[in-house]
Point group: C2
């Protein structure tokens, strides 16, 4: 059953948010949604952290927009693996995003102009701090769990390092303890496509009445390739021609995969903000809890030893491969932390974390059933 | 020992070249180089086919340019695996390229303007036809071998299907029987980066005094990621910072891998032609010998059953993985063709075919020694 109609909310923060870069974000707003009911003990709250192209809109639909399902609607709802009949689920849009929280398209109070590329650089840790402040306002001292996939998984991990006493469980799906050189490389190409688009205007395109759509399209196409497995792309598109025969053209579409990618790029460039893309890919690049511990992930996770972990990876995910999840598991085991690890044999690559794999959902359901029992949800 | 100073040559063809698209290339020139001496029996000629970013300049250096080694100088030369003391080696620049043979930067005789994007679409088979004509002029009826890596390997394979009586041996390195959906996807993103660069002007940038360098840079950066293995990128760059500490910037370089990729993109955009990039990636996309045989690669290779094959792949090559080479081997075995297959355990990804791996070079040396004995070279 779907959660039905939901309504996003906003919370204003007048206290500036100090950032890891040394800068700070002045007064700001966060968009968020909640599903289910906070119990009297305030023990059943689960925070769901979002990835690059997502938002606080985790589940349900918006009034009058029947196709506006949240990005994890298959996982979160009444009777679903993360059961909103038992849990109070919170989705928060991270600052720097373009879906409601204060970000580069909003007005910089210092100039009266859109922030553009002057928006301060934000990190996973900054987001976690912002999320913690919002939970303070909601009166939630300790979360039953923090859950996230991909970049959201990094936030879930950062929670365990930064606020280990504020969560019981961490569920980190399809994520990594940091980006590999290849991951950074893909991000960098995407950023160069955006930054070198003449419509980018050094990041102040809004002041110029412009939008760097070409760059965003290319960035999204690159990203999309890394979200799918080679095999699933092959199964879905293979070498299928769009028009049944070759036209011998370098600029027009010949293969279905080209048509699909262009469509993904076009769609994305219509709604996503270019500066947000730069900020979020940088947050990915920067995340590296081992760095401050002389490169030792085990030492980094010493802080998190009392949190219980579920780590999930997908066999065909080549963006954040199972080997990267096993690094996390190893660091936790080294700390004798309680960790369960599920490596799901799924064909869909990185995107699998958003899809309906029955084994994956069974693992998630079981974990949240156990958490529910534990917290009396 | 290096082959020393070499001099490129040109050959003019007044007879138009009919192309697979149905169009034809009017009078054209091919740039080529030869190394070693054709023996009296004309039995020791080896054709080396080039890949995307290479040319007829296979080995040796140019007068007064000591750093101008050919792209396969480590493999081809006196005493090298392909020994120019025994073989007469020929490198031919393919039409559509930007290194001397007739291509999009040359003048279209019909307009008196640069061809630009009006240059006809060329395929691997068209290149092989052009190469065969040049060999006719050199008086070489039958080649001891055709050798190529990557896209060059596709040409070597196409030789065995198109002119099976004109070669004894085919050596196909780090190649594939066609591009996967993922391969096409990467090509398509690169093409979109070029075509949507405002300086592209529909492919007639030269007439506008412009060059789509931004698009070429991004295209090259994407390509480069696919040439290296994840592991070798990790070993070479990891998460190393360029300046030892983070600057928190979305547009400037933070990581060494970014610096490296930007440098590769910049260099490439200074010398490579954008229309050539489109043409060559399309030739890659189109190559698919099985297509005309109801999807059966085995049936396609029935024509080549009397050619002897060496197929070489590299374990960490994720662009053209060993599995793709095994498809070729399987099709040849199905035809009871003579095929040897070497899967080299090398860390360098696709680029390994250009590098000095001792096991790889030993396999190549042995094969060419055997060929030399066979042809009396």
């Amino acid at each position: 059953m779907s959660i039905g109609i939901v309504t996003p909310q906003k919370m204003h923060f007048s206290q500036p948010l100090p950032l890891r870069s040394g800068a700070s974000l002045p007064a700001y707003e966060l968009a968020y949604e909640t599903y289910g009911t906070l119990n009297a003990e305030r023990s059943n709250a689960v925070l769901v952290c979002h990835a690059l192209n997502a938002s606080h809109h985790v589940a349900g639909t918006y009034e009058g927009q029947p196709k506006s399902e949240g990005w994890w609607d298959n996982l979160v709802g009444p009777g679903k693996p993360l059961d909103t009949d038992r849990f109070f689920v919170i989705g928060i849009n991270n600052p720097g995003s373009c879906f409601g929280s204060t970000g580069p398209t909003h007005t910089n109070p210092a100039t009266g102009q859109p922030w553009g590329s002057d928006f301060p650089v934000v990190t996973v840790e900054d987001w976690v701090d912002a999320q913690a402040r919002l939970l303070d306002q909601l009166g939630i001292e300790r979360l039953a769990a923090v859950l996230g996939g991909s970049l959201g998984g990094m936030q879930a991990l950062a929670w365990t390092l930064r606020y280990p006493r504020r969560l019981r469980h961490c569920v980190a799906v399809a994520t990594a303890p940091n980006l590999s050189a290849q991951n950074i490389a893909f991000n960098e190409v995407a950023r160069r496509a955006i930054v070198t688009d003449p419509e980018f205007h050094g990041g102040h395109y809004l002041r110029h009445g412009a939008l760097p759509r070409r760059g965003l399209r290319v960035a999204r196409m690159i990203g999309h390739i890394t979200y799918l497995s080679d095999d699933s792309m092959e199964a879905k598109f293979g070498r299928e021609l769009r028009n049944g025969q070759l036209a011998y053209t370098t600029q027009d579409i010949e293969f279905q995969i080209e048509s699909y990618l262009r469509h993904q790029g076009d769609k994305f460039s219509e709604y996503f903000d270019a500066n947000t893309y730069l900020l979020i890919t940088r947050a990915l690049d920067y995340f590296d809890p081992a760095r401050e511990h002389a490169g030792s992930l085990a030492r980094a996770f010493a802080a998190a030893r009392d949190v219980r972990f579920l780590v999930v990876s997908f066999t065909t995910d080549w963006r954040f491969s199972p080997a990267r999840s096993r690094e996390i598991v190893k660091a936790l085991v080294d700390n004798q932390a309680a960790v369960s690890y599920a490596e799901i044999d799924a064909p869909h690559g990185h995107d699998a974390f958003l899809l309906d794999d029955p084994r994956y959902h069974a693992v998630m359901r079981l974990r949240f059933q156990n958490i529910a029992r534990e917290v009396g949800a």
